[in-house]
């Protein structure tokens, strides 16, 4: 079930390069938290450090704490594989497995988690997940077709179905709509509003209206210059960020008066 995440003093490195510095933030369960900011300020990097995907790159590491419901995700006895099973992720470009059918894509995570699911139960879970991602009606007659036969928006919803099929506690989305047309974007925004009943959602977006529409809280990342680390400048309720932000930089960015 949805869990809260407390990040404190998180520094994120690519080798020697400090990409993100000193992030401290609390992410509430059953809500959508949006992260905004200019390109290269470390939004993706921060997002990937929440589910320990950051460290799959050679040399990449973090310092600091990410605590989920009391458990430090970076403590020595925590297996990153378990973290990723609890914190699902949707990527910027839709990435269904091209070698798998629609059905197998959704079932992929379930098969990892427990190998002996009965066929009927699996069918059930696949249907439930596809319904949860508002995709069922469009694909129910062609579950055996490759995932790559779908449109971009459908592929992204397939990826969401795949991520929610394993019932994660948290769902991370890195610009999930940036490769999609406006109608698919709306479909996914609607979906987020439904999914936040069950999951903690963190979304990176370049689209300010989107952040305003879907999120309860918004964090603004910025960086002082090329080669400088990105920082979380402001974190506040979305309403406040968009009407009366604490920081001048936030206001400049939101109103488009930006460097």
């Amino acid at each position: 079930m949805a869990k809260r995440i407390d990040v404190s003093d998180l520094d994120i490195y690519y080798g020697k390069f400090l990409a993100v510095q000193g992030v401290t933030v609390s992410i509430e369960p059953r809500s959508v938290t949006a992260l905004i900011g200019p390109s290269g300020c470390g939004k993706s990097t921060f997002l990937r450090s929440i589910n320990r995907m950051h460290e799959v790159l050679p040399g990449a590491r973090v310092e600091g704490k990410v605590v989920m419901d009391g458990q430090d995700l970076y403590s020595a006895d925590v297996d990153p594989v378990d973290v990723r099973r609890q914190i699902g992720m949707v990527f910027q470009r839709p990435n269904p497995f091209p070698t798998m059918s629609i059905y197998d894509n959704v079932a992929a995570g379930l098969r990892l988690n427990n190998k002996q699911t009965k066929k009927a139960d699996l069918d059930d879970l696949v249907e439930r997940s596809l319904r949860g991602a508002n995709l069922w009606n469009e694909v129910k007659d062609r579950l055996d077709r490759p995932g790559s036969s779908l449109s971009g928006g459908q592929q992204q919803r397939l990826c969401i179905a795949r991520a929610i099929a394993v019932e994660p506690d948290v769902l991370l989305m890195d610009e999930p709509c940036s490769a999609l047309d406006p109608i698919s974007t709306l479909a996914i925004e609607d979906l987020m509003t439904e999914l936040k009943e069950r999951f903690t959602i963190v979304i990176v977006t370049h689209n300010m209206q989107q952040a305003a529409r879907v999120s309860e809280s918004t964090g603004f990342f910025n960086l002082n210059g090329v080669g400088q680390p990105g920082r979380l400048i402001e974190f506040n309720p979305t309403e406040k960020i968009f009407s009366n932000p604490d920081e001048k930089a936030t206001e400049d960015y939101i109103s488009g008066r930006f460097g």
Partner: protein
């Protein structure tokens, strides 16, 4: 283009092509056609020269049992040795490729890749000598053990060859010869698996091995099959290594560890050709035709296997 042309003129006339394009297109076309011409020429030569052997009375064919009786054991030996090589080499090559691409530290990976590639540069006659003088004697104790403990399986019925120059030895030598081809191609396709798909698996909570099974191997499958077929092609046609290693004195048998083995087509041609005249030559050429057809068939089969699920290949 001249300024006087009207749009309708343009749509009916051929598009302007630069000389460079034309030269390149012409060269490429000529190269493509020349391959077909050579292939057709080889096929025609084999067919024409094989005809006398096909039409000759069976008693005049070497061995006295007709053309089919002559070629069948050779064909069987060819396929059997190549099959052993493929069964042994493919999993090993894939494992090496996976190790190099996904497990080994960068420096070890580069070195190991280089060594495996080097295996491909060794001439086959060297493999032949190595097989006869080094590998075969070393394998004899293993063959004895197989005969005693697994003799009920037809492959290991024995009696064990005392020299070790058996079908299994040949299969193993061939396996090492085709290993670099399969592993080089598998390595290339494993490296091409998009990070996007690997991260999709990892983000679902896959371990490294699960990620490989979910994203890497399925994506690389057509490459693995393609590499195996190239390897199979080499194993089917290998001449010198087989001619040196295999002790030939038998017909069709599944027994892999005895001294009575069927020969292979290519090795048989190499061994017999210098002594042959007249119809004997035609017979050898007919066996070559059989090898040619088999190799083509194997390649077409591989193509079919790869294309059968092209939708799921990941290429789209």
């Amino acid at each position: 283009m001249t300024a006087t042309r009207t749009p309708s003129d343009q749509s009916t006339s051929r598009p302007l092509r630069r000389p460079g394009d034309r030269i390149f297109a012409g060269t490429a076309k000529a190269a493509g056609i020349s391959i077909l011409v050579v292939l057709a020429g080889v096929a025609a030569f084999l067919v024409v020269e094989a005809v006398p052997a096909v039409t000759a009375p069976s008693g005049e064919i070497p061995g006295g049992e007709g053309l089919v009786g002559y070629i069948a054991p050779l064909l069987f030996g060819t396929l059997l040795s190549a099959a052993i090589a493929l069964v042994v080499a493919t999993p090993l090559a894939v494992a090496i490729a996976l190790f190099i691409t996904h497990y080994a530290p960068r420096r070890v990976a580069a070195g190991l890749g280089y060594v495996v590639d080097l295996l491909a540069a060794i001439p086959s006659i060297v493999y032949g000598f190595w097989g006869v003088y080094w590998l075969a004697p070393k394998l004899v104790p293993l063959f004895r053990w197989l005969e005693e403990n697994l003799g009920f399986i037809p492959f290991f019925a024995g009696p064990t060859s005392s020299t070790g120059r058996t079908m299994l030895t040949v299969g193993l030598v061939l396996a090492i010869m085709i290993l670099p081809i399969i592993s080089a191609i598998s390595r290339e396709v494993f490296l091409q698996v998009p990070t996007l798909h690997k991260e999709a698996a990892l983000a679902l909570g896959a371990t490294r091995w699960e990620m490989i099974r979910m994203a890497v191997i399925p994506y690389g499958k057509s490459g693995i099959i393609g590499g195996s077929m190239l390897g199979l092609g080499r194993a089917l046609g290998e001449t010198m290594a087989v001619a040196l290693v295999l002790s030939v004195s038998g017909g069709i048998t599944l027994n892999l560890i005895s001294s009575a083995n069927p020969g292979t087509i290519a090795a048989n041609v190499a061994l017999e050709f210098p002594e042959s005249t007249g119809l004997d030559v035609n017979t050898l050429i007919a066996s070559g035709l059989a090898l040619f057809v088999i190799t083509l068939a194997v390649n077409m089969l591989a193509r079919w296997v790869v294309n059968r699920r092209a939708d799921f290949s990941g290429a789209n």
